[in-house]
C-alpha cells in the first residue's frame, strides 16, 4: 500500500501557520529584551518542525531555507550568536518569508526564488562574517544561566516521559524520530525503547507504529517546552510526563515527607544520548514521585480540526430543527385535553434542548480574539521603527471569544485604527517629553463582553483628536454648514466621512483619508457600531460594539399588514403608543415624533417597502424607537408579536442584497420573515426623504 501524504498537506499548512505565529511572538519577546532560553528553543523548534514536515512532504524550497535558518538558530541556542535587534529583524523577515513560501506552496505557485536567495545569502553572511566564538552576554551562556531564573515551580531536575504512539501516528505524517531528536535539543536524554508490541514480520503492518519509548530528559527544562515537542502528535499518542528531582520531590513533600529515593537506579546521563533496551521489563516509576505533577496530554484534553464548512452545515441543520420544533409548537397550541398538555410539555423540553444544542454549536464557531490581536505586536514594532516613535502595546481580554466570521472581518478595521493611532495619535518622543508625558506612547487594545455584545476598544495616550481642525476641514468640504453647531460626538464622527483627512502630511502609513470610512462600513456590515471618545492632549479611544455571532440573532417580530418582520432586539430602544400631540411635521411634510426633548423622524415601514398595512393612522399602531449609528427613528408597525431567536439566512446568497434588509428567516408557521437592517432602513429613509425634499424644492 502506498501512503498518500497529500491528505496531510492542509493540516501541515494550518499547523505551520500557527507555529509561525508562535515563532513571531517569541521573536518579538526577544526583541523586547527578554533573554529567555525557552524563547530561543521555541523559535528553533518551529523552524525544526517546519523543516522536518516540509522535507517529509517534499517541499524542498521550504525545507532548504528552514535548514539554514535552523543552523543560525542553533548558534543562538549554543551561545555563539549575539541576539540583537538586527538579528531579530532578520529572523522576523525569515518568518515572513516562510509564511509566503508556505502560502505559495499551498497554492501550488512557484516561490519567490529571488527573495529566498537574498535572505539565504544574508543569513549565510551573518553566519560566516560574524562567527562569535566567545559567549555573548545577551543570550548564550547567560541565557543558559538564565534557566535557573525560572519561576521555582517550573524548575525541575528532569522529566520522565512515557510516549506510546497511536497506530495511525506514522500514517498521519508524524515521525517519532523527529520528536525524539527535538527532545534531545532541550537537554541530554536517556531513551529506552520498548519493542515488545512489535509483532512478527508476517503480522506487522509496517505503517503502524508499534514501538514505544520511556525517556528521561535530564536538565532544568520547562514542562511547556517538553509538551510543545509533542504538540504535533497530541491526540495521536499516549503521553505521560512526570517531573523528577529535588523540586518535584519538594512539590510532593507536604503529603509525602519521607519520599523514598527512586526504586531503580537510573543510568548515568552521558553528554550524548544513551540508548538502552527495556524490552519486556518496564522501568518502575521512581519512588514516590507519581503524584508529583499532572500528566500532559490527557490533562489538556484532545482537540480535532474541523473545517468551518462542516460546522456551518451542522449549524444550518440545527437551524432547520429549530424551525421544525417551532412548527410543532404552533400545531400543538390549539389542541386540548390531557395528552395535548403532555405534548406541549414535551415540546417545551424539546425547545430547551434545542436552544442548548444551538448554543453548543455556536460555541464551536467561537475563537478567542487573540487570533486577531496577535498580529499587532509585530505591526506596532515595525511601525514604531518606521515612524521613529517609542511605543508600548498593551493587550487585554485577548481570550474574549467571538464568532469566527466576525473575527475574520474585524482584523482589517482594527489594523486601520491602530495605524491611525500610531501615525496621528501618538506624538514623537520629543513632543511627548515637551508635553510632560513619558517618551513611550501607549496603545491599548482591549476586548470584553457586555450585554450580549463584544466590545473592542483601541485607545492611545496621544494628543487626541483636534476638534477645531476637524470642524474647519468639514466646513471647508461643505460637510457642515458655516454656522452649524455640532455636538462633540458628531464632530468626531466626521472622521468617518469618505476621503476625510486632517493630516498635514500624507504618509504611506495613513493620512489619505482612505480607511476610516471603510472601517465604519465594515463594522456596520457586521451589525456593529463604532464610537469615538477623545480628550485633547490625553488621547483617543475608538469603541467598537460587535455582535457575538452573525448566524443567529434575538429578534422582535413585528407585523405590518400581512407581512412579519424581524427587528434586531439590540437596535430597539423602546416601543410606544403614539399620542396625537406628540406628532408634528417638518416643513409641512415629514412627520416627526417629539419624544421627551428629542424629535425623531417617523419611518412608515409599509411606505418604505410598498406594502398594504392594516393601519395608516399613527394612533392605531405602534412606534418602535430604533437606533443605529447614533441616529434614532420611530418605526411605525401595526403590532408587535413574540420575541424569538432566529437563524439568519443570507439574502445575498439565496436571492440578492436588498438595502434595509439583513436577511431572512423561517417562522414556526413556515412563513418567511425578513430581518430588518436598521442602519440600512435609516439610510434608505434618509435617501428617499432627501429626494422628495429636492423634488418639492424644484416644484
Amino acid at each position: 500500500m502506498s501512503l498518500d501524504l497529500t491528505q496531510f498537506h492542509e493540516t501541515f499548512f494550518a499547523e505551520s501557520a500557527e507555529a509561525l505565529d508562535q515563532m513571531e511572538a517569541a521573536l518579538l519577546k526577544l526583541s523586547a529584551g527578554d533573554a529567555d532560553l525557552d524563547l530561543v528553543n521555541t523559535i528553533f523548534r518551529v523552524a525544526h518542525s517546519i523543516k522536518g514536515g516540509s522535507a517529509t512532504f517534499g517541499f524542498s524550497d521550504v525545507a532548504g531555507f528552514t535548514h539554514i535558518l535552523e543552523t543560525l538558530l542553533d548558534q543562538m541556542r549554543g551561545g555563539k550568536r549575539r541576539v540583537d535587534s538586527a538579528l531579530v529583524d532578520t529572523l522576523l523577515r525569515s518568518c515572513d518569508l516562510m509564511r509566503a513560501m508556505l502560502a505559495d506552496t499551498q497554492a501550488k505557485r512557484p516561490v519567490d526564488k529571488a527573495r529566498v536567495s537574498a535572505l539565504h545569502a544574508e543569513i549565510e553572511l551573518i553566519m560566516a562574517g560574524q562567527a562569535e566564538a566567545a559567549p555573548v552576554p545577551a543570550m548564550s551562556a547567560p541565557a543558559r544561566a538564565a534557566v535557573p531564573q525560572l519561576a521555582p515551580e517550573e524548575i525541575r531536575s528532569g522529566w520522565r516521559i512515557h510516549f506510546v504512539p497511536g497506530p495511525k501516528l506514522l500514517r498521519n505524517g508524524n515521525d517519532p524520530l523527529r520528536l525524539l531528536r527535538e527532545l534531545q535539543t532541550l537537554a541530554p536524554c536517556d531513551i529506552r525503547v520498548d519493542a515488545k508490541w512489535v509483532p512478527p514480520l508476517t503480522d506487522l503492518d509496517p505503517e503502524e507504529c508499534r514501538l514505544s519509548w520511556k525517556i528521561e530528559v535530564n536538565g532544568p527544562v520547562k514542562e511547556a517546552a517538553i509538551k510543545s515537542v509533542f504538540d504535533w502528535v497530541e491526540g495521536e499518542c499516549d503521553l505521560n510526563i512526570e517531573a523528577f528531582g529535588p523540586a518535584a520531590e519538594a512539590a510532593v513533600a507536604p503529603s509525602a515527607p519521607a519520599a523514598p529515593a527512586p526504586a531503580v537506579e537510573l543510568p548515568a546521563v552521558a553528554p550524548a544520548p544513551v540508548a538502552s533496551v527495556a524490552a519486556a521489563a518496564p522501568v518502575p516509576a521512581a519512588g514516590a514521585a507519581p503524584a508529583a505533577t499532572p500528566t500532559a496530554a490527557h490533562a489538556d484534553g484532545g482537540s480535532i480540526r474541523v473545517s468551518i464548512e462542516k460546522i456551518d452545515e451542522l449549524l444550518n441543520s440545527v437551524g432547520e430543527l429549530v424551525i421544525t420544533q417551532s412548527v410543532l409548537s404552533q400545531l400543538a397550541a390549539p389542541l386540548e385535553g390531557h395528552e395535548a398538555e403532555q405534548l406541549r410539555n414535551a415540546l417545551g423540553q424539546l425547545e430547551r434542548h434545542m436552544r442548548g444544542l444551538q448554543e453548543s454549536v455556536m460555541r464551536v464557531r467561537m475563537l478567542p480574539i487573540s487570533v486577531v490581536f496577535n498580529r499587532f505586536p509585530r505591526l506596532v514594532r515595525d511601525l514604531g521603527q518606521r515612524l521613529g516613535k517609542k511605543l508600548e502595546l498593551r493587550l487585554t481580554g485577548d481570550s474574549t471569544e467571538l464568532d469566527k466570521t466576525v473575527l475574520e472581518k474585524i482584523g482589517d478595521p482594527l489594523v486601520h485604527l491602530v495605524r491611525n493611532a500610531l501615525d496621528h495619535g501618538i506624538e514623537s518622543p520629543e513632543m511627548r517629553l515637551a508635553a510632560g508625558k513619558p517618551a513611550h506612547g501607549v496603545i491599548e487594545l482591549s476586548a470584553y463582553h457586555k450585554g450580549g455584545n463584544v466590545i473592542v476598544e483601541v485607545s492611545d495616550d496621544g494628543g487626541g483628536l483636534k476638534r477645531e481642525k476637524i470642524l474647519a476641514k468639514a466646513r471647508e468640504r461643505g460637510l457642515v454648514g458655516a454656522d452649524e453647531e455640532l455636538s462633540e460626538d458628531r464632530i468626531y464622527n466626521l472622521i468617518f466621512a469618505p476621503g476625510f483627512s486632517t493630516a498635514d502630511v500624507v504618509s504611506d502609513v495613513s493620512g489619505r483619508g482612505v480607511g476610516m470610512d471603510v472601517v465604519k462600513r465594515n463594522i456596520n456590515e457586521l451589525g456593529g457600531h463604532v464610537q469615538i471618545h477623545s480628550t485633547a492632549g490625553k488621547g483617543s479611544m475608538v469603541r467598537i460594539r460587535l455582535p457575538l455571532t452573525l448566524a443567529i440573532l434575538d429578534g422582535q417580530l413585528a407585523r405590518v399588514g400581512e407581512e412579519v418582520y424581524v427587528v434586531p432586539i439590540v437596535s430597539i430602544v423602546e416601543t410606544i403608543q403614539v399620542r396625537e400631540e406628540a406628532v408634528g411635521s417638518v416643513a409641512n411634510r415629514a412627520q416627526v415624533l417629539r419624544l421627551r426633548d428629542d424629535y425623531l423622524p417617523i419611518v412608515r415601514l409599509y411606505d418604505l417597502f410598498g406594502i398594504e398595512p392594516q393601519y395608516t393612522e399613527l394612533l392605531d399602531g405602534l412606534l418602535m424607537i430604533v437606533e443605529a449609528d447614533g441616529k434614532r427613528v420611530g418605526l411605525f408597525v401595526d403590532e408587535l408579536m413574540s420575541q424569538q431567536q432566529v437563524v439568519i439566512k443570507s439574502l445575498e446568497t439565496n436571492f440578492r442584497p436588498v438595502s434595509g434588509l439583513a436577511g431572512a428567516t423561517m417562522l414556526g408557521d413556515g412563513r418567511v420573515a425578513l430581518i430588518l437592517d436598521i442602519p440600512g432602513i435609516i439610510a434608505r429613509f434618509e435617501s428617499r426623504e432627501g429626494r422628495r425634499g429636492a423634488a418639492t424644492r424644484a416644484a
Binding site: S2, P200, E207, P273, V277
Partner: protein, 107 residues
Amino acid sequence: MNSELIATAPATGGTPVNGHVSLGTSCTIHEVQALRAHMMAQAAHTGPFEIDGGNVQQVDTAGVQLVVAFALDCLERGVPYSWKGRSQVLDEAVRVLGVGALLESPG
C-alpha cells in the same frame, strides 16, 4: 521504490550468508511495504542474513521499526545476521530511537 533488494548474495568474509537484504537509499514509510515483502521472502531462507544499510540516505521510524522487526524475527529463530554497512544517517536514527541494542545480531 528506491530500495534495491537482492534475494541472495555471496557470503561475505568468513561467514556464509543465505540471504541479503539491502535497505537501499531510502528506508522510509514510503518504502516499508515493499521492503517488508522482500524481507519476508528472505526470511524463507535459513540464514544467516546480511543487512546492507550502507547506502541509506533517508530513514524514518517506520523504516527503523521494520528493520527491528526483522532483527527480532532472527533473534526468535536464533538465526544470526550481520551488518554489511550502516550509513551515518541510519546510525543516527538507530541512536536517537534507542534501538541500537535490538539490532545486535544474536550470532
